[in-house]
Symmetry: C2
Subunit: 547 residues, 2 copies
């Protein structure tokens, strides 16, 4: 890499480019933006979450001058513990984002070692060769920021998750003036969120939710049970306001929701009167018409409160006929089945369920196509680099950029691990960094690899057959019938003709000439038998003992 | 059950009530409507498809007077082979539906035994005590019918999948007059499709797709590769028309699509000039600008043509930069990840991909809320029974029915296996029939049960650890180190501290007093060790040999 070039490198999980982590590097010095996690896809069996492979940073750990977190959502914060364990750099975040990081590090460990710095929108911080100006953006969590990064090659605008909301819940609109000012100074490159690039028009304001809540609260006589994300602070504010308007009381349920609520109230991001809040125990003694319960589980996670309510396995309380459940969220892609299953089960228990499809009880936190065009016009960048989306979103974002006059050759679509090199005049593909993502399961980080995952896929699809042979140590003949059992494969009954045939095949093999590797021969023979009879390919595992 | 009551019983897979099969029974005589399959959910590992449990029919096989198939989609036809294998009743279907059944039974076997009868919309057939009038409905496949079933207790309108399309591709609108005539006669109960009950307004006409195709064909210079379902005959017609308008030639790829295309042309449901059609081999020699390829795989199935194109593993041809891929379909719920992964991979290979989110290249075949209200007003039923949807759809359909004046007590929401009993004045819940669904995998039908599925879930999540102990047959001590290996669990390296610890634990157990069941003790001990160290619970399988 040439010394006078700016390197831009997206890292992170799966197909979402740069969502979890972006690296800016100049003269060997590094600025990291965001440290997020991804949730596993449906065929990533057993994985709890996925974090970026940060080998690139670890190899350069003494050159990382700072880490900036743009806002408090998991896909931008969730890997902070793992990153700080390897890279000891100062972390910059706005007060609410810092508060959420502290709650997280406090629970997971690592808070004592973390070197956290509070910044405010409007502040400027020098991080190595990068002068970073923080500016306010609207998103589905308060206190989000975008970054104006003055580098030796020019000004970069890093626009993480955002929307242009003229009437946000916290009454703090996006900083249009700052964006326009950047454009006056001249923007070399704009990197911006592509999540909703397939969505025409303008994303509705968070404020429309108030109207939907009004309808629900006005028409409901029983309890109202609202589920959302624990980090959706503005939604808590809106629920509290509706609760107050309709003379009810509000109970927050679930540790993460309570922790975040307390922290946000303390920092002044959540304005809820003490008198409005009751404990869940109190709420359960009150008349139904006075009760609002807010909890997590809007993604239908089986172990969440809403998941347990839907299966009747919640500890403190149950769904009862007359309850109205509001899912104030959007299913994360891949979670649709879980969410709809949960909704069906809640109906089965007598609740009425209101979700996004039926009323605007949720709106997206991401800019739609017209907002994305506005951002380009506001900043007038030379280069556009779509980030924060799958390839299909980046391509659509690029199309929008071309529509508003950015020449094709000035738009770069890159994948995670593919670096770009910029100077004041040019943008070129740079080195491709070997990068992947890291599976986290329970206490294991990165030990589960693609091979283990492939084994799980086979186990899940076709199961395993275990064959235990006991041979006479002298004659080599079977001392007793082969013991054959299975897990996840259909060999249950002892009388099963397939089992009988399998035993016969083993016997025949032993009668023939065994070329020294009996276990392998048996595996192959039974594998063929099972495939021809069932069209499945279970793993066949053979042990041989000699008595 | 009282002899003078009509029993209505939805059977079928998973949560979709009555989608796959409805049973009407009077005086012990049975009419079956539809014999469909369901696709497995993401956590149903290894399952190919799911069919209704038809024990109820098998127990009454001599009383089944007829089977009616409303239209040719898999979720209404896919279990025909399995049903006819058990129940030898005449099957009634319109010409195109019959043609699709013949293609299917011809491939799967069973065509020779099937007793198929062609009916036309407008025909009346007496099936046991049921006088069935077939009337034309619009849907995303031609030749669909609804049923007016005159029973001894009154007239039932069975409205399977439908939409009200004023400009369908085959120019054959819904039979409004028949519905109005039913209403004159007096409709006891309306059973109707609830699929889109959460969708406001009116579903757009199939005709809007023509406009979207025009835009794509006009703007594209390279090849156009269109994916859809093999049964979407009307889409083939639209693609052929666009191909002709823009002076290209059309190649159909894939056996099922070709079989259906030939059959539909022969029966006159598809009007395509011979000169328009080329083989794929011919197409590959033509200039890109002259080529349209139509294939299956719009759901991103890895083994489909589109799936293979996205991974570069197709046999006859590959995606190349400049290709435009059109996915003319909607992701089946649960398939979203597969579909989006495929789209991303196609972009990666240089194709431009156009799908439902970007342009109206697909429209729903199901009625939206205003159409559902219209159907109720057209038929003016005494009772409304929402069918063809998950519980959430049925509840929403019920809400729409209440909005147009059907009293709550005249609306029944039932699940699969829950019967209703009707006479001329009343509708009551009847017997609950023990019913479930049946997993089909390869050549196995119903052998994989919930237990095997649960084992697969554990195997998929946490894997399996195999422990092989060889003891001295006299002393009971270990003859050699325990052999421990794993599949889908993280015990790869022999030096692994967890493996070392596991061996030690086994040794300690043997040094202590073994209460007779060594294998069980080892399973328990290692299970605890693995959980405390990794928070996973792999299956532990122990074999003990004595030498």
């Amino acid at each position: 890499m040439k010394a006078n070039k700016l390197r831009i490198l997206p890292l992170g999980g799966l197909g979402e480019v740069g969502r979890n982590m972006m690296v800016y590097e100049y003269g060997g010095e590094i600025l990291v933006v965001d440290t997020g996690l991804m949730f596993p896809e449906n065929d990533m069996h057993g994985v709890d979450y996925i974090i970026p492979d940060i080998s690139y940073l670890i190899e350069r750990r003494n050159k990382v001058r700072g880490i900036i977190i743009t806002h408090g959502h998991e896909d931008h914060t969730g890997a902070i513990k793992h990153v700080l364990a390897e890279v000891n750099a100062p972390v910059y975040a706005t007060p609410l984002t810092r508060g959420l990081l502290e709650v997280k590090l406090g629970k997971q460990g690592g808070l004592d070692r973390a070197n956290l710095h509070t910044v405010q929108a409007g502040d400027t911080v020098q991080v190595g060769p990068f002068k970073v100006e923080f500016f306010h953006v609207c998103h589905s969590i308060p206190d989000g920021v975008g970054l104006g990064i003055t580098t030796p090659v020019g000004l970069i605008v890093h626009q993480s998750d955002y929307k242009f909301d003229h009437t946000p819940v916290d009454n703090w609109p996006s900083d249009y003036a700052k964006l326009a000012e950047f454009s006056q100074r001249g923007v070399l490159a704009l990197l911006a969120d592509s999540t909703n690039a397939e969505r025409p028009g303008w994303t509705p304001s968070e404020r429309v939710i108030d109207g939907a809540f009004d309808t629900v609260f006005r028409e409901t006589e029983g309890r109202i049970i609202l589920a959302s994300f624990a980090s959706l602070i503005s939604r808590m504010q809106q629920v509290a306001a509706a609760t107050e308007r309709y003379g009810r009381k509000l109970a927050f349920v679930g540790t993460s929701m309570q922790d975040n609520m307390k922290m946000a109230r303390k920092l002044g991001y959540l304005d809820i009167d003490d008198k409005l809040i009751v404990s869940i125990e109190q709420a359960l003694t009150m008349p139904d018409k006075d009760v609002v319960i807010m909890c997590t589980g809007s993604q239908g996670e089986p172990t969440s409160i809403m998941g347990r309510l839907s299966t009747g396995t919640n500890r403190l309380f149950d769904i009862k006929p007359g309850d109205t459940v509001v899912l104030s969220s959007h299913p994360i892609p891949g979670n649709e089945e879980n969410v709809y299953r949960t909704i069906n089960r809640l109906f089965q228990r007598g609740a009425s369920v209101i979700h996004e499809a039926l009323a605007p009880v949720h709106v997206s936190g991401h800019a739609s196509q017209e907002e994305m065009k506005l951002l380009i016009h506001l900043t007038r960048p030379k280069f556009v680099i779509p980030i924060h989306g799958e390839l299909r979103h980046l391509h659509q974002h690029a199309r929008l950029a071309r529509q508003v006059g950015i020449p094709s050759e000035n738009i770069a679509i890159i994948e995670n691990g593919q670096s770009l090199e910029l100077d004041a005049d040019s943008m070129k593909l740079g080195e491709k960094v070997a990068t992947s993502f890291v599976f986290v399961e329970g206490s294991s980080v990165g030990e589960v690899d693609e091979d283990v995952m492939a084994e799980r896929e086979v186990l899940a699809r076709d199961g395993i057959v275990l064959v235990n042979l006991t041979l006479d140590r002298f004659s080599g003949s079977l001392r007793r019938d082969p013991q054959i059992s299975s897990r996840g494969f259909l060999l249950s009954r002892d009388s099963d003709s397939l089992l009988v045939e399998a035993r016969k095949r083993v016997q025949n093999l032993l009668n023939g000439s065994v070329n020294g590797n009996l276990a392998k021969d048996v595996e192959k023979e039974l594998g063929n038998l099972f495939y021809s009879e069932t069209h499945r390919r279970p793993i066949v595992y053979v042990t041989v003992a000699r008595e």
